[in-house]
Symmetry: C2
Subunit: 448 residues, 2 copies
């Protein structure tokens, strides 16, 4: 029988688990310092909760779970498979953490005090074509604050991004924009209906250059004078504050644009109070999740690696509207654990001591010394020190090979004299030195 797992899924061995937990623990620690509270939602949601929330493409990528029992009973199979699927599957696997969170807020509104901030670290599933860095099962690490429009919340997201990547020792740039500024630009050039076309095109500025952006705008049906009217936006200069001043002038009679600039000014003002270590950039070409976000938008890229965005988020004004609870404004971010893993690997920034399991191995010299070893090992374990007794009285070489292969730093030998004296002989595997100690002294040494 061949052993394999479904395409796009992964087993995690202990060394990978240690690295992944290092990322999750770091993110969780920061979420907690900012007083976010954990929640979990079921892996299985009713398909009616999920369908239609991620666009037509998303509906296709939902994993659907076959109904139990006679799923065929009363179903007409002489129709398109897309019509049959919802008849034989009432449930699907979670596709992201956002829609389940919206459902959660509406369902538990009476048990939550607003403003409510939650974090959620759980896997999601997408029937996407697997490829390098893209999986069918992967974790999302989301933090959201809902029930307030205060821009202090946007500041907190920036602080959290800064704290996470400082702790992980990754240099990053946080790009910030505001959806209202993008709307203001579309209005400014007299093409408010072309907002999506404009943002899709100028989003490519870095990659294809200004000439090609202009060409694309033309192809997307913008008039030459409209495209020319974009020039002042491309020609903004100076730091974020200087750019925002120039935009203020440009947006003199432009309500939505002015609102966007004011929000960005307030946010950048707050940010200046906390002096983040990461690089902060006002990027007017940043467009992410246009149909979804309504205010500030964020995207984080790591320096010195060519890996895409490792964190992103923004303000949405109507998350729970789809479930019949309107006017709940929120703002949130999502850390991409798999990409952060790739960045840390490429930059060789994982701490060297991660994933060490046993700290101490007792060599097994057979039944005579075992009772003594069992008692001493129990003492170490009670003190939280990860301790092994080699299970069989195998040859010394085999036991030492195991210690080496498992990177166990201390090996303990117990013979008649140790038992008589109430001591243990400990070998420091890295230094190659050996000493005989009381259990108290060993405990003190190991707890250092």
């Amino acid at each position: 029988m061949k052993c394999s797992i479904p395409k796009g899924t992964r087993d995690f061995l202990p060394a990978e688990m240690a690295r992944r937990n290092y990322i999750f623990d770091t993110i969780r620690e920061v979420f907690k310092a900012f007083a976010f509270e954990p929640i979990e939602t079921p892996s299985l949601e009713n398909l009616s909760t999920l369908m239609g929330k991620y666009g037509e493409e998303g509906d296709k990528l939902l994993f659907k779970v076959l109904n139990s029992g006679d799923f065929m009973d009363g179903v007409d199979f002489n129709q398109d498979y897309r019509k049959v699927a919802p008849k034989i599957c009432e449930r699907g696997l979670r596709y992201d953490l956002t829609v389940p969170f919206a459902r959660f807020v509406v369902q538990h509104r009476d048990q939550i005090s607003f403003p409510f901030r939650r974090y959620q670290l759980q896997p999601v599933w997408r029937a996407d074509r697997p490829q390098k860095g893209r999986y069918r099962e992967f974790y999302q690490c989301d933090a959201d604050m809902i029930g307030s429009t205060s821009l202090l919340h946007e500041l907190e997201l920036v602080q959290m991004i800064d704290a996470v990547f400082q702790k992980l020792d990754i240099e990053v740039t946080v790009k910030i924009n505001n959806r209202k500024v993008l709307a203001g630009i579309a209005e400014h050039i007299g093409a408010p209906d072309k907002l999506v076309d404009i943002t899709v095109a100028i989003d490519k500025l870095d990659k294809i250059g200004l000439g090609n952006v202009r060409k694309e705008l033309q192809e997307r049906g913008l008039a030459d004078d409209q495209i020319a009217a974009l020039d002042p936006v491309f020609n903004l200069s100076g730091d974020a504050n200087a750019k925002l001043e120039q935009l203020s002038v440009l947006f003199a009679n432009n309500e939505v644009g002015t609102k966007g600039v004011e929000e960005l000014k307030e946010l950048f003002g707050y940010i200046s109070q906390v002096q983040p270590k990461c690089h902060i950039e006002l990027d007017l070409t940043l467009a992410r999740g246009l149909n979804y976000y309504t205010g500030a938008i964020f995207e984080v890229k790591a320096h010195n690696v060519s890996i895409g965005s490792i964190c992103g988020g923004g303000r949405y004004d109507n998350l729970t509207g789809i479930f019949g609870m309107p006017d709940v404004s929120g703002v949130g971010i999502s850390f991409g654990a798999d990409r952060i893993y790739d960045v840390l690997t490429e930059l060789d920034k994982f701490p060297a001591t991660l994933g060490q399991s046993a700290q101490v191995l007792f060599i097994n010299f057979g039944a005579d010394t075992m009772p003594y070893c069992i008692r001493q090992a129990a003492q170490l374990r009670a003190a939280g020190i990860s301790t092994l007794i080699y299970p069989d009285s195998a040859k010394m070489k085999k036991q030492m090979d195991f210690a080496n292969k498992s990177h166990i730093p201390y090996v303990v030998f117990v013979g008649e004299s140790e038992i008589a004296d109430g001591t243990v002989t400990v070998k420091d595997m890295a230094a190659g030195t050996q000493q005989t100690l009381s259990m108290n002294d060993l405990l003190v040494m190991l707890q250092k």
Copy 2:
């Protein structure tokens, strides 16, 4: 639109998460002290990996995931739904952690050093009829050691059970038996082929009494003299060692029975070295997982509550055989987190301080004092202290109500004088007292 989740699944709110994490963290801490290493396997497995591993009933309870794309292509729907299901579903949701672990060991045999000990805390899914305490998605907490037949491993399981329930402050009894002793009993009464019938019947001794057990044995086809031959087993007296001595005599010419008794003697000998706090009991009527276990078996029950087994496990000699890797002996246990949750709730043993999120709330008096508040809050957060700034300059009463409702122990007030002096005024919400402190003094107070 009605918000709901599938039957048998659950949302976990922050208070429940805190309690669940208390259980998971306790178990994980003990697993780590015994040098178990974490692994994770995918939620989705190939159905071929899962089918036929849990009996006919288990096959029915597997959640099957519909193939992506045109799942109907080439499938004949004019047959029984049980035949159609595997044609339209190649994958299923994990049903337990044991079969995926066996698959993992075989698949990664070259990356693992044996003896290998892993722990795994992940959800599993079963399409069981939901009822009180039985869910369709629930966590299992498993620890297994494979690649050695040493009974030191059985001892370690007992030590871990003892440590977990001591830390959780739950009084428990660990019942221990050995599958070989059960086989020995069947052989002793001349009915080795009736092993299952005998164990099923005597497993009920506690509930239905000796008379009814005898009746059931009769119904299950045992002869009167065979049933009478069981009497010495029911009449064993004294502590575990005394009972084992009596069994030794009974099993004088009984190889498998003698082996079982020897294993139990060795294990009880080891246990006497570590003097566990929990109650340990040799229970010859304990039968669990008969088709699966081959040596020691364990079951844990909590005192003073009528909740079933909260932990169980045993020795299996051929876990990976189903995947073509024979002769790998292992031993493991599984903690039932949901039942442990119920026990802690019923005994009121959850620590009172669990689930407190924010430790400090800065009252929002508007834009003038905000920059100062932002800077001071950043200091607390950098020190890992969970800190909130109320996002809006709402009425004082509303902000204080929020603090009370959220059980935040300290509320900070900042006005002109605090800013001038570089201090904060802190109200201890429980004591009702208020004092003005430097940030350093506040930090010291909060880190106590």
